[in-house]
């Protein structure tokens, strides 16, 4: 069946609301407006204002209320319009959602799902273009999901709702309109493992391209073009940024002996830094070349199209990094 990332997310929300009456969606403009990215369009009419709950612009208040509702036995899905605004709820996410289970000695788990849009690329300027999912992946107690594919857009939410602990789902703004084929019976997917989306054949020069969420499409395009140059690629979609499935990464690097990490976050202190560190810690002797990284330039994301594009990972930069890795490997 033909669908889009947005429609797949909506189908996931609808299914969750139908299957579990404890599930409700809460956030700014999720109801009458139809969702600021139109993900929840039509759900208010289907489920009513109690379960498709518009909130005031009070990120800390309604995220905290979601945590409280989860403690009270509900299964809230809280939508924060973008990751940029989630910073107003950082206290609730980091000091409460992530800590309550531990601080209470295992008594109070927090089964909340918090969804938000992330990323740049739409000329929205610095305050609407952050990619901070790597920050959140720093926090023990949280599970961080970053669906890049239609199957994951459709399937991660239900599994996240079964998780007894807080789950954050990051949806890259550039993905909502991505269209493609999805099985009619597509449903819940696992959230524990990274996905090896493409595997290098017996080509002499091989490299593992590691990415997630919004940069997956450009990495796949780079992989296609690299194949034309005789460079074979493994493409790993991380899917879950915390806990990281290191096993799948190391498996691939053991075969290709080279790695390029592609991350729209800034390089310093990023999830790409964590991945590079793990590869060097655990697969040092498998490597034929230093780990390469393609990240955003370390500037607040600018408005002008040419400046913004220059700041973000691109197909060209990924290809250049892959060539360097292969070249360095001799």
């Amino acid at each position: 069946m033909k669908t889009t990332y947005r429609e797949a997310m909506r189908a996931a929300l609808r299914e969750a609301m139908q299957r579990d009456e404890r599930v409700f969606l809460m956030g700014e403009d999720v109801g009458r407006y139809g969702g600021s990215f139109a993900v929840s369009l039509g759900l208010l009419e289907e489920f009513g204002p109690e379960r498709i709950r518009d909130t005031p612009l009070s990120e800390s208040g309604f995220v905290g209320a979601g945590i409280g509702a989860a403690l009270g036995g509900m299964r809230p899905v809280v939508e924060i319009m973008t990751v940029n605004f989630s910073l107003l709820a950082l206290d609730q996410i980091v000091n409460n959602a992530a800590t309550l289970l531990h601080m209470s000695g295992g008594q109070f788990n927090v089964p909340i799902v918090i969804r938000m849009t992330t990323g740049a690329g739409r000329q929205l300027g610095a305050q609407h273009s952050h990619s901070l999912e790597g920050w959140y992946a720093h926090i023990p107690g949280l599970r961080i999901l970053a669906p890049a594919t239609l199957a994951d857009a459709r399937g991660m939410l239900w599994t996240a709702l079964q998780d007894p602990d807080p789950v954050l789902i990051f949806e890259h703004g550039s993905l909502y309109n991505v269209a493609g084929e999805l099985d009619e019976d597509a449903g819940a997917v696992g959230i524990d493992k990274a996905a090896l989306l493409r595997q290098a054949d017996g080509t002499a020069d091989t490299v593992t391209l590691i990415t997630y969420c919004g940069t997956l499409p450009l990495v796949l395009e780079a992989a296609d073009q690299l194949a034309g140059e005789g460079i074979g690629t493994d493409v790993v979609d991380l899917r879950t940024l915390r806990p990281l499935d290191t096993h799948t990464l190391l498996d691939s690097v053991a075969r290709t002996h080279r790695a390029v990490v592609v991350d729209e976050g800034w390089r310093s202190g990023s999830i790409s830094a964590e991945i590079a560190a793990r590869i060097s810690e655990q697969a040092f002797f498998d490597l034929d070349a230093p780990v390469e990284r393609v990240c955003s330039e370390e500037v607040p994301v600018p408005y002008a199209k040419h400046l913004e594009q220059a700041a973000l990972p691109s197909v060209e930069r990924v290809m250049a990094a892959a060539r360097r890795a292969v070249g360095a490997g001799g």
């Binding site: 036995g73 601080m103 008594q107």
Partner: protein, 349 residues
């Protein structure tokens, strides 16, 4: 200054119970200070001494199925909600027998059995949780009340205002209890707020709100009962400003440079325990041996609790990483459906 409203204590048995409750908190915390000085317990220690009438009066009006959210000055709330003094002290010792198995400490006491949701040490951070607990009750059509305690310092935080608005907008069954002890650490209310009438702030959100003498346990109980009854019967959120005073320092590291000793002494004349005791004696309801017996009972309880904590076992270091994520195959308190296999399909398979 040394009178309780009306001078009369209508039900001697109940008054004695309230006196006992306040004395239990007082003696527990006096013991905490002693144990802190002896380095038996560490971290921050914030005692409630002087404010006992607030927790004692409010807790009296709750049912077991109600929920309580408190602050980092919560030993008394935990004790009066039903957490044992032993479990509280063992927690401060960092022992496995503590109510949070040594992971919370003085500022983070939690107890699922009594629906005691902390022990929240970010000022105003507990208010949105209380709103959410009340939202869950409302959505599940349960006739339960969530009571949220916080200090007057919290009213300067955005989370206070966001929570007032949400609770009122959605007419949620929550009782906000602002323990106004006049100082946020060392900053006096008048030095941090342009409007110092706290009940008025809540009222501006269309929440019924009024101020209560927080040193008079009978007045607190009466006000709380009225408010809890209204909340439980669908009257939406209510707000009490409980005017009280902290007799001791903010924490064990506070030299108290910000207030005069005479001010403290003046408030100590309205010690909530002395006030009730005096009123009961004046009414002939508390013979000398009654007071002595009460003290002996409470001392015995605390002494037993100290013994329990002393004899506890340190939570093993091998358990350090537990409770970061749920043990997925165990049952848990939120009734989560866990251990279910997710369906097949998608990129991961």
């Amino acid at each position: 200054m040394s009178t309780l409203r009306g001078q009369t204590v209508p039900d001697p048995e109940h008054a004695l119970h309230l006196l006992r409750q306040m004395l239990r908190v007082r003696r527990l915390e006096e013991k905490c200070i002693e144990l802190y000085s002896a380095a038996k317990i560490r971290g921050f220690l914030h005692v409630y001494i002087g404010e006992e009438a607030v927790a004692a009066g409010v807790m009296e009006t709750l049912s077991p199925e109600d929920a309580v959210v408190a602050t980092y000055r919560e030993h008394g709330h935990a004790l009066l909600r039903g957490v044992s003094a032993g479990a509280i002290l063992a927690e401060m010792y960092g022992h496995a027998e503590g109510c949070c198995r040594g992971r919370g400490g003085s500022m983070h006491l939690f107890d699922a059995a009594t629906r005691f949701y902390g022990g929240n040490a970010i000022v105003a951070g507990g208010l949105p949780l209380a709103v959410g607990l009340a939202l869950a009750d409302r959505m599940a059509a349960r006739q339960q009340v969530t009571v949220c305690f916080f200090g007057e310092g919290a009213v300067a935080e955005g989370e206070f205002h966001e929570s007032m608005n949400l609770a009122a907008l959605w007419q949620l069954p929550v009782l906000f209890c602002c323990e106004n002890n006049l100082y946020a650490m060392g900053t006096a209310l008048g030095r941090s707020e342009s409007q110092t009438d706290i009940a008025l702030k809540a009222a501006s959100y269309e929440i019924p709100a009024w101020a209560v003498d927080g040193m008079d346990v009978l007045a607190v109980e009466e006000a709380a009962r009225r408010a809890v009854d209204a909340v439980r019967s669908g009257g939406g959120p209510h707000f009490l400003e409980l005017r009280t005073y902290r007799f001791r320092a903010h924490s064990m590291f506070d030299p108290e440079l910000y207030r005069e000793k005479s001010e403290v002494a003046q408030w100590m004349e309205r010690d909530p325990i002395s006030l009730l005791r005096g009123a009961m004696q004046a009414a002939g309801q508390l013979p000398d041996d009654g007071w002595a017996g009460l003290q002996a009972d409470v001392d015995a309880e605390i002494s037993t609790a100290v013994g329990f904590a002393e004899n506890g076992t340190p939570e093993p270091v091998s358990e350090l990483a537990r409770f970061v994520y749920s043990d997925r195959l165990e049952e848990n308190n939120s009734g989560t459906d866990i251990g279910k296999e997710p369906g097949k399909g998608g990129a991961a398979e």
